[in-house]
Symmetry: C2
Subunit: 424 residues, 2 copies
């Protein structure tokens, strides 16, 4: 077997065998296959595609390229949730304690932000002293005691994906649906949960910008889950505007706390309760309506918030000290009208420019900066009324660029639904 | 402009502008664009193709990536010939003095062998003391005095092609017709001649294995030539068996000398006189029949051979000492019948195994080893009659593997023509 023959096969639209894919991943990990050969193969896959069987095989080979988390000592059903990444997406912060309050276990490993999207681990670190690096033993002890833990992904979990993901990022091969599916699912399967709910974001602020591709990705991930005997449900959701009002690390944690205390922004509420209800439904094997009633109850009676406080306290965090800049600037609208669009990609990139996001993995980020929207899409705004607050840090951005994120018109535009469809 | 956007354009089947291709080549030469990005782009080009305009632009950008040879001080028409590479292809050794004897100038830079095909420069070095590295001044002086010089390609001629060619070799991107065309034509155009005859080999022993692709490549190269105001004619020829009887370095030089002395093998004779006639026809602007008469005459009256001797002497070579192994083994047929096939790829690889070719560029080759066929395709052989002589060196090969290069049957198979077509 040699890498050039394998590249040529995929170039000629042929199917790669399990053994060939295994040879590629092992060879790449031990540096026998070079970056320039891997990127040529990734481009051939991006253009010519992979069959379902190839994608399932690739996922399992990646999954077994490093450690996997053994949750057999957790004496409860472990459900997991993943989002393909959006702007202002603090769903995990709210969803994890909410689902735990419903009696299921959330033993979740999350990532850091890169590019225009944030990461749960960065957000949690804006809570003073919150520990995200926890040993396997402590992780299992915590979830057995309080049903919930949010920690950073272990270093040797799916090392093949780490390398390939970094290479795809710089070689124009991020858009391949089979590669996205195997990347997400190998990490999910390695994390040890038994049931998965995947939030596939669709829109310009997301990895996938059209519903057709999102549907393909969702179906593929559901099949990979099934092939591994793990129930997997995908929810296709709209990323046409940032989720909720806060975009940034500390500011999103504060919004999440307010949310758990009962102060609901509509889109965040709809998405979180829907995803939580699906998780409770599959985790406890009950109907979706009954699940939604339970979820709503746990949110309203404060049990979800208490779970959040328990988790923060268990992981050493001080809930009273959340990093937030005191350099606040109010941005006002230059005209009256309906807000027809708030560009999530531009917003995400501006928060990155403020210092709230990373361009490369080694960047140190400013957890206190961000945006807090005073208006959402569909709202009416008057001239000189506040559009948003900016929490400034070291980075500088132009007010004109912020204003340009908003499309305001006298005629109100019809918006896409927040939840497009559920694929299982 | 950035490389990821450019890769994405080609991935999405869009056309790259001159400025984008220029950015790619310059960036790759100064290491701002990495091997893994270039190989992703090369794969996208290999799968999605390039338009004629893109290919012409790429050729000109590569051509200008380094030095070009200025032949303005040569006071004669300079014609050049190139072969896409075959097994036993010593055409240049015979053609160059022959065309020079007809009054045209051949100021030719050639390469070394790699893989299963040989290179003119290696072959010439089997003549004792023959100098292939000559200064530009001496090169021009020589061609002005004797109309012919065969030297090795200058180091800084088309450096972009050198880098890209090496990368294509290890990333499964050698088969792209636009990339082959721009590689060949950038080197040809940089070498300073004004008219080109290109021998496009077709068959399993060649870069291109089917007539359709060969035709596409030929048409593209003719267009690139025209776009640069250089008359270019392509001849599509058969590489179903080695050309002539000798395969190896010294042994091919000896066959060439015998040929120039009047000892003709049919296929080599047909190909050489046809290519020479086309060169004379375009170089002197005469009809092809008149050109063929002149070529035949110069071959028969010994003037072509004299040119060869003049060139060897001018370049310091000693024609009486040609490297050839004295370890000769005669291989005999194990059955009677017609020779229906002599596999050129297998033969080329066996000569490489003998030590006569390179696996990597730094390999030192054995100039004295090779094969001398006693039978060609279409000949009849008796059991125990000699098929070929092997000139052994340090490398060892199995007699079974040699015999396996020959297909012998009681029924004679119809063969493809030697010259498929001429494209201009």
């Amino acid at each position: 077997m040699n890498i050039i023959d394998i590249i040529n096969k995929k170039k000629n639209k042929q199917t790669l065998t399990f053994e060939e894919l295994d040879y590629v991943i092992k060879g790449y990990l031990n540096d026998e296959i070079k970056d320039y050969q891997m990127s040529a193969l990734l481009m051939a896959i991006t253009i010519n595609g992979m069959s379902e069987e190839e994608t399932i095989n690739l996922t399992n080979i990646m999954l077994n390229s490093g450690d996997t988390i053994d949750l057999s000592e957790v004496n409860n059903i472990v459900v997991d949730k993943h989002s393909t990444g959006g702007v202002g997406d603090k769903t995990t912060l709210v969803l994890a304690p909410l689902v735990a309050a419903c009696g299921l276990t959330i033993a979740k490993m999350s990532g850091r932000g890169l590019g225009h999207t944030g990461g749960t681990i960065d957000k949690l670190e804006s809570i003073k002293d919150f520990k995200v690096d926890i040993s396997n033993e402590d992780f299992i002890k915590q979830v057995n005691e309080i049903n919930v833990a949010l920690v950073s992904q272990k270093d040797n979990l799916v090392p093949a994906d780490k390398l390939i993901y970094a290479l795809r990022d710089v070689t124009g091969t991020t858009s391949s649906i089979p590669l996205i599916a195997s990347s997400i699912m190998s990490k999910k399967l390695a994390s040890g949960a038994s049931k998965f709910v995947l939030d596939v974001k669709v829109g310009e602020g997301a990895l996938i910008d059209n519903l057709d591709d999102a549907r393909k990705l969702a179906k593929l991930m559901v099949k990979i889950g099934k092939a591994n005997n793990k129930e997997t449900i995908c929810v296709l959701t709209n990323m046409d505007e940032p989720l909720g009002c806060a975009i940034g690390n500390g500011v999103e944690v504060i919004e999440s706390i307010n949310f758990l205390k009962g102060n609901h922004v509509e889109d965040l509420y709809t998405l979180t309760t829907s995803l939580a209800a699906i998780m409770v439904s599959i985790g406890k094997d009950v109907g979706i309506r009954q699940a939604l009633i339970e979820v709503t109850e746990k949110l309203e009676n404060g049990e979800a918030y208490q779970k959040f406080l328990d988790m923060v306290s268990y992981q050493g965090g001080n809930i009273k000290e959340i990093e937030l800049s005191s350099k606040i600037h109010s941005i006002r609208s230059n005209k009256s009208g309906y807000i027809n669009r708030i560009d999530p990609l531009k917003i995400g990139n501006l928060v990155k420019q403020l210092g709230g996001g990373r361009t490369s993995k080694d960047d140190v980020i400013d957890l206190g900066v961000g945006f807090l929207l005073n208006k959402k899409v569909g709202d009416h705004v008057l001239e000189n009324e506040e559009l948003l607050k900016v929490y400034y840090g070291r980075g500088d951005i132009k007010i004109k660029d912020i204003i340009n994120c908003f499309e305001i018109d006298i005629i109100e535009k019809t918006q896409n639904p927040l939840i497009y469809e559920v694929i299982k």
